[in-house]
Symmetry: D2
């Protein structure tokens, strides 16, 4: 049994880590970090955890924390971990960072999109991008894992096999994504009030959202060249869930025909058939976010449109589980040699 | 055409005043007060009003405002108007206060429940409680109207005829009320975030909510003696609407029988048959908040329960219209001799 | 490992049974009964179960079913099980009925409120009312368990200790309950459409709802005499959850004082302190349905109101879990000697 | 004052016609057609109209109806009007059809996408496509107006000026649209139940939705050549509102540069600056459906993305108003020479 510390335990992603780890057989939570609620009982902040979690919230004392735990999860604002991280910490504990600080190889990309100076760029190369299905072996050996973003997990996995196999032209890729409100976090902002979100849908971060370069970087590895895409997120009046609707032009086969349903399905199966947490839906069935709620699944479906020569790919997941805390636990399981699905045996809740 | 000033124009009740007054034939809005958004275009705060309202937000300058307008609406926090009000202001403009500052005759009740020192108690007696259907004649002559609370408007009107006619025992009255989230205002608080309100229902202010004494005072006038009740509000995941479910023991007729449906209906009709904004529903039909959305209606239904000797009375309204801005405009119409329904010809939106 | 059959597996309660049993260590699902979807793959009806449940839906063949399974769950319309049940079935398998058919001791009460002729009244006495916390020992020995209603589980447990201890006058009890839409089932009715339920709250079944006599019967056992109450359910725009707000007059102590917070808490603790699935909240904390979502918990809080001499008791649960499928599994665990919480180790989902 | 008849008055679009016409100064409703509710009081089906609409529902007797009214609105299933329409009817009354029956010039396109045989193709050429802002003059003279679809109104208007001016390549156009649930109508289907729609988002009709050819036909007129696009609708858990997010590649200027923000804005202004019901938002402001709720506005915003050479255009409207009933009334106003905005002076409701 290892010990885990969470910094940012009272945000929604942090709370989901607590929910999942509370039932994990190999881990106990030893540190519930939350600067906003120091000394307050955790279960009084998240009353759903009453009688399930006994501890109180602690300040962020990384110096002390790394001596007491085996793994540190940081569910913190962008820039936090980069600004405090030291080599010494990594020698004492493994880190899984749910922020964007170590998701890029190129510090310039990070600084351009996040408008933050990166304080520990020397660690960016070592950090492993923790998309388990793509980087499983590297994750196993990692000291520092950059847990992918919620939109990006969904967007990348949905397109990856087709980009990798050259079945679509990645430069025609358009990702139109929709997210529930928990993706915006638990900060007290007018924009996130019930009455502002409810009965409403809007796009935001149009042509500027910071998950764009993250998708581009990973798909560029798949394509073997630099890829530029459009990514537009939308806010949907629901608590959880991300749906990514992705459009791309199909690349013709050598004989001039367009790839058909069977070819496309074959590509998905090549990469994902053995993946427990990726469910490739049957022909004619398309993902709905509710089918993944509370679970670590990514559901993927697609439709070839012969009229336009495009494919529509659709992916869905729970942004707090596979899009954040669940994937972080999956990464931890890999890093510590536990069964990859331990603690993630979560059945989607419907309705 | 008169001129109106609104202080607190960017809260939800203030914004609803703007929505209603924008179509009022006898009034133009001359002052959009909002300390939080000074100099910002109003339509950039409430983008629904784009091309409908041209002005920008102004600071709260009552000294200046009373010289420029005929009527001032204050949609402000409790205690604000009481702390700045002067006799001089009332000589220059009429005031309709959407806060609780002048809703009570007894300053001790106000201070006990609101935990605020009242700075102008000398005006409490002059102020008219602006429940138009009950106090129409006094409102017409008033300089200062205390616009009733949202829960209280619904709770009082639903029980009033039966209390007045002695058909129910007011001390057995229990009001279990449910409200949409706009009643909590537009303040940026964690409790009001989408993810905290959505998919959830809770009671709050149990045995302590400040609308309790307001209901008690008005029903005491109806009963001719001091009345004490239970009032419990609940937060419902919807934007607008209040439903009040009220329980009371029926008072037996002289012959020992319980009042029947006809007697009860007769009492409601005696007081409300001529009221345009009160709709007494047919037997077996009970109010739903959605049927009043966006309108100034109060819908009322009831059910006699011979098994228990109680009556269940149910009222519904839109908390921002009849529960706030609509009633304020109705009061203004009475005060200035306009048609009482001017600007309030609003058809409920369904769905 | 025992085998379970579910009749009515594609309703919401049936689907929740599937969700819970899918992770239960002592049970496998051997029969997914659904007349509406015969031969259709279960996971194509509930796509959230894709790759988790492999079987297809079967017709309702009780004759065959009782030979193949150890326990039968019936999540069926009122009257179904009563009309087909035979002594022979009970000799072959245990039954847990989620309908109301065996919840009453008195067939007249059933027929009066349900307007259905009961076809097997001879079994009503044998059937055990499966409110585990109250009837644990009888459930262990039962062949036929009547699983309580959703509203009733919440309403009874919230008031039980105070009725039993004589701290409240049960004839003053008023239960104002609020439920999410899954309580109305999965039938295709206009009233249950999204646009009819969303942004709306209404009462229904006023003074006539069929859970009334069920609450009365159980509280009558607690009171030691016949109890008559008011029960009013409301439909709330959310998927899951029931909140019961209950009002009753406190019974004075022999010294003329009203019971205080400590006495009340003592009564709750006397009955529930050892109950894993009942969480008595701390003073000043009141239940919210979201804190129980997806779990088998009932959360209970209360407030003494010295002004009116009443107590306000509030209970919350997930209507599909503790209010239906979870409680059914808890009953099964008791009947078969499994750990009572097996399969019910469910952490509430927030947000 | 003219008389209007509505066939299909109890569907959501029909009910919205009733809501709008109830306040229209030039029209009275003389016929509330609804086969499902014959002889039932209209206000008992839509209780929001209690005391506002007095009539009862009538059967569909077109023979009689055309003698009694000046204008007939048909808010009926696809194929209905085409199957009953006669020249004689058009000589007696004007028709505004909210179905798709007369939206196409080419009967083959209709039959291919709708899988219905068209019974009166001879009228397809005469019928005017009632997108008022594009076809105002033809609408004024029309006997038969095909009221556009909800998605199509939003999708076409959002892209029209840029297609017309050749600023975008129409064959690269991708329309990713999101709609509230009222667009699915009031039919009692499991898919439209609250619990199925709430807390969920999904795409549907992928590459096959019947609004696709309607968008293509109108944009082909603008482009001066045949246009083929991708259109994907999504169901969002809200009552009203459509948001269309549209992507297209910009066409380079003769000097090789991409069109900039000013050029794009100029194109929109050229066509829409004088349009009362189209609000072109300021730079950096993007539509939200809530800002249009209950009103006849279409809000449009856009963002040029120099990185990808694409433009993202976003349009929003209320699907029941500008997307159905409001536009139908706007068409009627044009046809009868009323002020175009009569009855449509509707202020968006927020929140």
């Amino acid at each position: 049994m290892i010990k885990a510390g969470i910094i940012g335990a009272t945000g929604y992603a942090g709370a989901e880590l607590v929910r999942i780890l509370a039932r994990h057989k190999e881990v106990s939570i030893a540190w519930l970090g939350s600067r906003s609620y120091i000394d307050k009982k955790y279960a009084s902040v998240y009353q759903n955890m009453f009688q399930l979690v006994e501890g109180s919230c602690l300040d962020d004392q990384l110096d002390q924390l790394v001596d007491e735990v085996d793994v540190v999860f940081t569910a913190t604002p962008q820039g936090y971990l980069a600004s405090v991280m030291k080599e010494e910490y990594l020698e004492k504990a493994r880190f899984i960072d749910l922020s964007a600080d170590y998701r890029f190889q190129d510090v310039d990309v990070y600084e351009a999109w996040y408008k933050i100076e990166h304080k520990s760029p020397q660690l960016m190369e070592e950090a492993v991008y923790g998309l388990c299905e793509l980087n499983r072996e590297q994750v196993k050996k990692a000291r520092l894992v950059a847990n992918p973003g919620c939109y990006t997990t969904c967007s990348i996995l949905t397109a990856y096999p087709l980009v990798k196999e050259g079945l679509i032209d990645p430069d025609t890729l358009i990702v139109d994504a929709k997210s529930g409100a928990s993706g915006a976090g638990r900060g007290a902002k007018v924009n996130n009030l019930f009455c502002e979100v409810n009965e409403n849908i809007k796009a935001y971060g149009i042509a500027t959202h910071r998950h764009t370069p993250e998708i581009e970087e990973q798909l560029s590895y798949a394509a073997g060249r630099q890829v530029t895409i459009n990514f537009t997120p939308h806010l949907v009046p629901m608590n959880r869930g991300i749906l990514a609707t992705e459009y791309a032009s199909l690349v013709k086969n050598p004989d001039g025909s367009l790839p058909d349903e069977k070819q496309i399905r074959g590509a998905y199966e090549k990469y994902f058939a053995q993946e427990k947490f990726i469910r490739l839906l049957e022909a004619g069935v398309f993902p709905e976010t509710k089918w993944t709620e509370g679970s670590n699944y990514v559901d993927i479906g697609f439709q070839v449109d012969m009229r336009t020569g495009r494919i529509i790919m659709i992916g869905a997941l729970d942004n707090l589980v596979k899009g954040a805390a669940g994937q972080a636990v999956q990464n931890m399981n890999l890093m510590f040699g536990f069964a990859e699905a331990e603690g993630l045996d979560l059945v989607p809740l419907f309705p």
